[in-house]
């Protein structure tokens, strides 16, 4: 079944499981349409592999509209590929040329072990949120929502930080595999809002402690995370987290 007229060569990381060694494998992607998403191109390749009795390439994906944060491919040396501000599922083949060779790897970080091929384990992010990424308020008893007035600028800045999709591109982009952008986005969201004030010190301390325990690297202010973030989460969040952390330690 032909879809379009682009022919590409893929070099894809194949790894059976966490324990075995991986290697690059070469695949032909033929008849690709520029309107396909990058993942739809993988669907075509996998369909061809299955019909010739070979094992398809395993990769994570779900919503395919750029919001769930599940897709995670390191394409030609960049998380989510060459186009800025999009996830892999929203990257379209019109960003490539006929005849291109494309190298696809999983996220690389000690804190994100490979499960199979391009799928990695990002449960470390869940544990960081469990350490403090919340407001401790049980269901029920909340007061009327409009009793909490919030300055629009603060609400908008908090929203921009909260837009993080937890995909891990920041970690994959960082030469130190630091998770500072991810952690600081949640710390910032809650630090900017009145609801987050009561626990602000404990929150930043506990989240940073968990981040360190998970084996993420340090931040050396390179800014690759911000440049590669599909949701354009700002480096200012890291600065804000550093202030919060210092403040929490001083008192």
């Amino acid at each position: 079944m032909s879809h379009g007229n682009m022919n590409l060569t893929l070099k894809v990381w194949k790894q059976k499981n966490k324990n075995e060694k991986g290697r690059f494998e070469t695949y032909d992607a033929k008849g690709i349409s520029p309107d396909m998403s990058f993942l739809e191109m993988f669907d075509v390749v996998n369909e061809q592999l299955i019909s010739s009795g070979k094992e398809p390439i395993a990769f994570d994906h779900d919503c395919r509209e750029g919001i769930c944060g599940m897709c995670s491919m390191y394409i030609n040396g960049r998380p989510h590929g060459p186009k800025q501000g999009v996830t892999t599922c929203q990257l379209h083949m019109r960003s490539f040329k006929d005849g291109d060779t494309i190298v696809v790897e999983p996220w690389r970080s000690a804190a994100f072990p490979v499960i199979k091929d391009l799928a990695v384990d990002r449960s470390s992010f869940d544990r960081i949120i469990a350490a403090g990424g919340f407001v401790s308020v049980n269901t029920g008893n909340a007061k009327d929502a409009n009793n909490i007035l919030i300055n629009k600028d603060d609400a908008d800045t908090a929203f921009n930080a909260a837009a993080c999709i937890g995909c891990g591109a920041c970690v994959a982009a960082c030469k130190n595999a630091s998770a500072m952008l991810f952690v600081s986005a949640k710390v910032s969201q809650l630090a900017l809002l009145p609801q987050g004030q009561i626990e602000k010190k404990a929150r930043v301390m506990n989240m940073v402690k968990q981040m360190d325990e998970e084996g993420f690297g340090n931040c050396t202010n390179t800014g690759a995370c911000e440049a590669e973030c599909p949701k354009s989460i700002s480096l200012e969040n890291i600065a804000r987290m550093n202030r919060e952390y210092l403040g929490a330690n001083m008192l």
Binding site: E47, I50, D62, C63, I67, C68, D126, A130, A142, K143
Partner: protein
């Protein structure tokens, strides 16, 4: 008509307005010491699952949560765009609990339960309060208060939102509450786990069989109660706005173990999605209903008009929704808007290369916003260009992420040219039949959120899915589960070497072996696409007796072929997405047959169920209240054999009427 004796809806007696508050105050309680030894399994971690799990754990129950994704934060609630309804009346536009209740019953074309919908409207305000307390960053006005916008099927502004990412922000709120309980050890989280079957012992649900999707191992989990919060089944159509992994498996397994399936044919086709671009397409992307608030929908007045949108003068445009429904205009409910788009395209007025699209145009409102903004900024006599520039900034703030997504997918800039849109499968109103407590026909087995059938009748209004998911999880199940668990305090945890668990696991293992051993010639996706085409062509936006009858035999043939010729690659004892898909598609095929049977038996049109034989002279859905004012609850008997049970729908507070949005 009397309801089937097998269906006890357990709707409390008394006045509609006080049913829930009275019931809530009299339902049996479980004391804190007993809660600690009662175990609840929650399958699914979307809005319904995460909110239920967090709240039940806060109350002291022992909770286990499963999700098939790598993290609970990825559940498909995350993709909901437009907003969440609540009867707060913050805009002072005459909103009230009664009005939200009325709009929802009417929007659902009078096929939902009054008592459930009223309860939903009652707790809607609490949802907003709870989410704000958690730090959910809703959109705000300059004065610091919460902002609202309009959605379809209503004439008030009651929709709360966070740009075009409301589902994301609400889910992350519920996810944080859930992770807080995980951190405290009150919830055990099992990510990358899929429920494969439920386990019933002596007529009660006592647990599940799950598959660890990384190791491939089967696991047995005991629970005093099991909550299915597993979403809808729109992916039966292959192409839909659902996530790739969204599936019916948990609900379908429950159905085959005794849970009746309610109104399976009620499917929502959303009017504003990005049109299909080619046969490679794996999913469809929604453009939020909130855009209809600020956009105008039109097609050319002339057939096969090949001019660019911008070259078609105002008087040659047909704003067909405004023409047909002047009172609601572009904000008619989804089923009405979808059919109207299909009608224009079928008649030859469609636009774009496929001619299967209509325009959603923001030019008029961009200009209006620009003028308002110029006034706010004190600009006198601004030029048209300045106005448009200011207007675009306002539009960007409201819908920026949606416009970016549209541009990314189509390669066209919606700030400059109108969007092309077409209806697509989006939501399923049908689901597991539940009583007022949200319990299915299997004691101890519950269904919440989109997985149940209860609140939206034959058509859901926009921004009501988020409302229902969170209502069920935060504010309904925490109370109603006491009615059952208070009777279970003497039930000790059942060891999972019990025969029922062993047998259920063996059955799952046998099915896995069968799938792996077929070694046929066609991929799982191949069958899924064929099923989707049958469903879309014959059980989609318009249905008729002949097509549905054909669809049923085609699906039966497809099922036989699937079990003979599917190829599942890899190994069962490893991470194997093909095997996961094979299980899900096998269940979709069986569900597809039931959907067609339900659509065939319902000889009327209502909401999203449009039977071509039953329409008014104007082409509107023609209900038959004398014969069909009931919930169709199907009991699984054996392969392709389902028995219909009816729950009569009584309207004591609202008069049944032909829906009128004109």
């Amino acid at each position: 008509m009397a309801s089937s004796p097998k269906l006890n809806s357990k709707i409390p007696q008394g006045e509609l307005e006080t049913k829930w508050t009275k019931y809530r105050s009299t339902v049996h309680l479980v004391n804190p010491a007993n809660k600690r030894s009662l175990e609840v399994i929650v399958v699914g971690s979307g809005l319904a699952g995460a909110s239920a799990a967090a709240t039940l754990a806060e109350m002291g129950y022992k909770v286990k949560v499963l999700c098939f994704q790598d993290s609970p934060r990825r559940a498909h609630s995350i993709a909901a765009q437009g907003g969440v309804n609540a009867a707060k009346n913050y805009q002072n536009d005459g909103d009230s609990i009664y009005r939200l209740f009325y709009d929802t019953i009417k929007g659902g074309d009078y096929r939902a339960r009054e008592a459930n919908v009223h309860r939903l409207a009652e707790v809607s305000g609490n949802i907003i309060d709870q989410c704000v307390a958690q730090g959910v960053p809703f959109a705000r006005e300059y004065g610091g208060t919460l902002s609202n916008r309009s959605f379809g099927g209503t004439q008030v502004q009651r929709t709360f939102y966070a740009a075009g990412q409301t589902g994301q922000q609400l889910l992350l709120g519920a996810y944080s509450a859930l992770q807080r309980q995980v951190g405290m050890g009150a919830v055990q989280l099992l990510a990358r786990h899929e429920m494969m079957d439920v386990v019933n012992i002596d007529g009660k649900c006592r647990g599940i069989i799950a598959r660890d999707l990384v190791s491939g191992k089967l696991e047995r989990h005991f629970g005093h109660a099991v909550l299915l919060c597993t979403g809808g089944y729109g992916n039966v159509f292959y192409l839909s706005t659902n996530a790739m992994g969204s599936n019916v498996t948990a609900a379908w397994k429950a159905h085959k173990k005794g849970a009746f399936f309610g109104n399976p044919c009620y499917t929502q086709i959303h009017p504003t999605c990005i049109p299909v671009s080619g046969d490679h397409q794996s999913k469809l992307t929604l453009m939020s209903e909130s855009l209809r608030n600020d956009g105008r929908i039109w097609v050319p007045k002339k057939k096969d008009d090949n001019r660019k949108a911008i070259d078609i003068p105002e008087e040659e445009r047909d704003y067909y929704l405004e023409r047909r429904y002047p009172a609601f205009g572009n904000l008619v409910p989804r089923d009405v808007a979808s059919r109207a788009a299909k009608e224009r395209c079928d008649a030859g007025y469609g636009v774009g290369s496929s001619k299967m699209a209509v325009y959603l145009d923001f030019a008029a409102n961009t200009e209006r916003y620009g003028k308002i903004q110029a006034n706010k900024l004190g600009l006198h006599n601004p030029s048209k260009d300045e106005i448009i520039k200011l207007g675009k900034e306002v539009v960007k703030e409201k819908y920026g992420n949606l416009f970016d997504m549209y541009k990314q997918i189509t390669g066209e800039d919606p700030y400059e040219v109108p969007m092309r849109i077409y209806p697509a499968v989006h939501y399923t109103m049908g689901g597991l039949w539940v009583d007022y407590n949200l319990m299915t026909t299997v004691p101890g087995l519950y269904a919440l959120g989109e997985a149940n059938f209860s609140d939206h009748g034959a058509n859901r209004l926009g921004a009501s899915a988020l409302m229902q998911g969170l209502a069920d999880g935060y504010f309904v199940i925490p109370y109603t589960i006491g009615d059952y668990l208070s009777e279970e305090i003497r039930t000790k945890s059942i060891p999972t070497d019990n025969d029922a668990f062993v047998k259920a696991e063996a059955e799952v293992q046998e099915r896995i072996n069968k799938l792996m051993n077929i070694k046929g010639s066609k991929s799982v996706d191949h069958f899924h696409k064929r099923l989707g085409k049958i469903m879309w062509d014959k059980c989609g936006m318009a249905r008729n007796k002949e097509g549905l009858t054909q669809a049923i035999s085609e699906i039966q043939a497809l099922k036989a072929e699937f079990w003979k010729d599917v190829r599942v690659t890899g190994d069962a004892n490893e991470f194997n997405p093909e095997l996961e898909k094979a299980h899900r598609v096998a269940d979709f095929i069986e569900l597809g047959e039931l959907m067609c049977k339900d659509a065939l038996h319902r000889n009327e049109s209502c909401g999203g169920h449009f039977r071509e034989e039953y329409q008014t002279p104007d082409g509107e859905a023609l209900r038959d209240d004398d014969n069909f004012a009931y919930v169709a609850a199907w009991e699984y008997k054996s392969d392709s054999n389902f028995e219909l049970h009816k729950e009569e729908l009584k309207y004591d507070n609202i008069k049944l009427a032909q829906r009128n949005y004109a």
